[in-house]
């Protein structure tokens, strides 16, 4: 009885949920339509309306059901798929190929992505320049705007960026949900430090070679975005690495472990975001008085961010991406969203409402462009 009451505490009535969705409704309406919905092109109008409804229905259900992760994941996965669709579609239209040419590099036309940021730091400090063949301010995915978006998102969400803002994370998040039970259950704790080792290597190698080495040699998401045209043994090796890492870390291992293995064991930006978890206002807290140490939360955490020791100590580790899976799994509401400075076990609803609004708003607006574009493409394909 006690448990039921606690879970019910996170749920809201239909009317209250609508009320909580209203600000999201208005803000996303303004951003998606610019205040003036345009239905002159029915396909565009319908795509926009679908994206708008999708975002707001998901947000409404987060409040109405009291569950976070399942609704976050829907938008997060659609975001990842739609971004890849948008990029590939653009490339096929402009270049007739998913690969970029030497001319694209020479003319600095490569879209910038946040994964380059760790590699930019040392060269920017020592040579006062950016080692990426993209555009500083103009055009699609320019360096300045991507840096601003990442900087603010990381400051506000910390590693929450990896579950609420990263347009790649949805890939392994999606694959990690395919099976009901994991095939591989035990993976050494050591591996979760791998992103820091990768970070160390790519930061140093990028500085020494003046090349974004992660993008050139490692990034698994090149397989679903764009990569260098295969013209030599070197570029073939690179393509082989991209495809095998995508197949292994983004598809096979997440399916077998039910964990986000690319994000847990490879991504160097995840390592930096983990460190920023120390300053962000939003955290996940453990109410030790309510916790009965069932460790369900440890089992469901997709990023190996929770251990039994963490639960006993009453603290989540810096790897937490605030996805909400553990929060949803806890029948006693002992693990919950919190705000730094507020003691655990108190102001749970306030903290959750504020966090959800901030994080979901970021994801909704950030993803809206590519989602509308994808829906538009699909509608054109169907009709």
């Amino acid at each position: 009885m006690d448990n039921t009451l606690k879970v019910a505490g996170m749920r809201k009535s239909f009317g209250k949920s609508l009320l909580f969705t209203l600000p999201m409704f208005l803000i996303t309406f303004m951003f998606m339509t610019g205040g003036k919905p345009n239905f002159s092109d029915p396909a565009s109008g319908l795509a926009m309306l679908t994206a708008f409804l999708l975002v707001n229905v998901l947000y409404f259900f987060m409040h109405y059901t009291g569950k976070t992760d399942r609704y976050r994941a829907v938008l997060f996965i659609i975001f990842a798929l739609s971004l890849s669709y948008t990029l590939i579609h653009n490339m096929l239209e402009v270049r007739k190929s998913m690969s970029f040419s030497q001319a694209d590099i020479l003319e600095c036309k490569i879209p910038f992505c946040h994964l380059v940021i760790p590699m930019m730091i040392l060269p920017a400090a020592f040579t006062k320049s950016i080692i990426f063949p993209g555009s500083i301010i103009s055009g699609f995915a320019n360096i300045s705007s991507m840096v601003v978006l990442w900087l603010v998102a990381t400051l506000v969400l910390g590693r929450g960026f990896c579950s609420w803002g990263c347009f790649y994370g949805g890939w392994d998040d999606g694959f990690s949900r395919i099976r009901k039970r994991p095939v591989i259950k035990k993976i050494s704790e050591l591996w979760k430090w791998m992103p820091f080792a990768v970070l160390l290597m790519v930061v140093l190698s990028a500085a020494l070679t003046m090349m974004p080495t992660y993008c050139s040699w490692i990034c698994p998401f090149k397989a679903v975005t764009e990569f260098e045209r295969v013209t030599s043994v070197e570029s073939a090796t690179k393509a082989g690495i991209f495809l095998s890492l995508f197949g292994g870390l983004v598809v096979a291992l997440p399916v077998m472990t039910k964990k986000r293995t690319q994000c847990s064991f490879l991504c160097p930006l995840g390592a930096i975001n983990s460190l920023s978890n120390k300053i962000t206002p939003f955290t996940v807290k453990i109410d030790k008085d309510a916790c009965n140490e069932c460790f369900k939360c440890v089992g469901v955490c997709p990023l190996y961010a929770l251990t039994t020791d963490d639960i006993k100590a009453g603290k989540v580790s810096l790897f937490c991406s605030k996805c909400g899976k553990c929060v949803d799994a806890c029948s006693r509401n002992a693990i919950h969203y919190g705000i730094r400075g507020i003691p655990s076990g108190t102001m749970k609803n306030f903290s959750r409402n504020l966090f959800l609004f901030v994080s979901f708003l970021f994801m909704a607006i950030f993803s809206s462009g590519s989602i509308i574009n994808t829906f538009h493409g699909l509608l054109k394909l169907i009709f």
Binding site: A103, I131, V148, M210, L361
Partner: protein, 148 residues
């Protein structure tokens, strides 16, 4: 102290909420400010370097850029010089280049655009070989590897 911590925490969270609310409407303005930071310029290894000399030819223009030896802490011993042809470019490009402006030609270059073939005839010992030779949206670009 507990109350101070709570107030500080909530204030920080509210500040972050405001930050997210103004982020997207102000993105162009924020990006504009960030782009003006001293380190927000592309490394010459990517831009090809500044244009050092412009040669006006019959129907096209050849830009000879400054040699790039840019490294992390100090200049490297090997680098490149980039040449860009734009305008109405002939099928066969043939030019002699003095990239270091010492009055002596350093190399001759022949680009057969139709067959995408580039032949380099090095005169100076500092000239290593063709790094890149590719059609571009503005014409044709070539990077020649150099030793310092």
């Amino acid at each position: 102290m507990k109350k101070v911590k709570i107030i500080a925490g909530i204030s920080w969270a509210i500040f972050c909420l405001i930050l997210i609310l103004i982020l997207f409407p102000g993105l162009n303005s924020f990006s504009g400010s960030v782009s003006k930071l001293p380190f927000m310029k592309l490394n010459p290894r990517y831009t090809g370097g500044e244009i050092a000399n412009q040669v006006i030819q019959e129907r096209c223009t050849l830009d000879i850029r400054k040699p790039v030896f840019n490294g992390f802490l100090k200049e490297r011993t090997s680098g490149f010089v980039q040449l860009d042809w734009h305008g109405t470019i002939p099928e066969m490009i043939k030019d002699s280049i003095d990239y270091d402006h010492d009055g002596n030609m350093d190399f001759c270059i022949l680009v057969d655009r139709k067959n995408s073939k580039t032949v380099l005839d090095p005169i100076s010992k500092k000239v290593k070989g063709v790094v890149i030779s590719t059609p571009t949206s503005y014409g044709w670009a070539v990077r020649i590897g150099l030793l310092k």
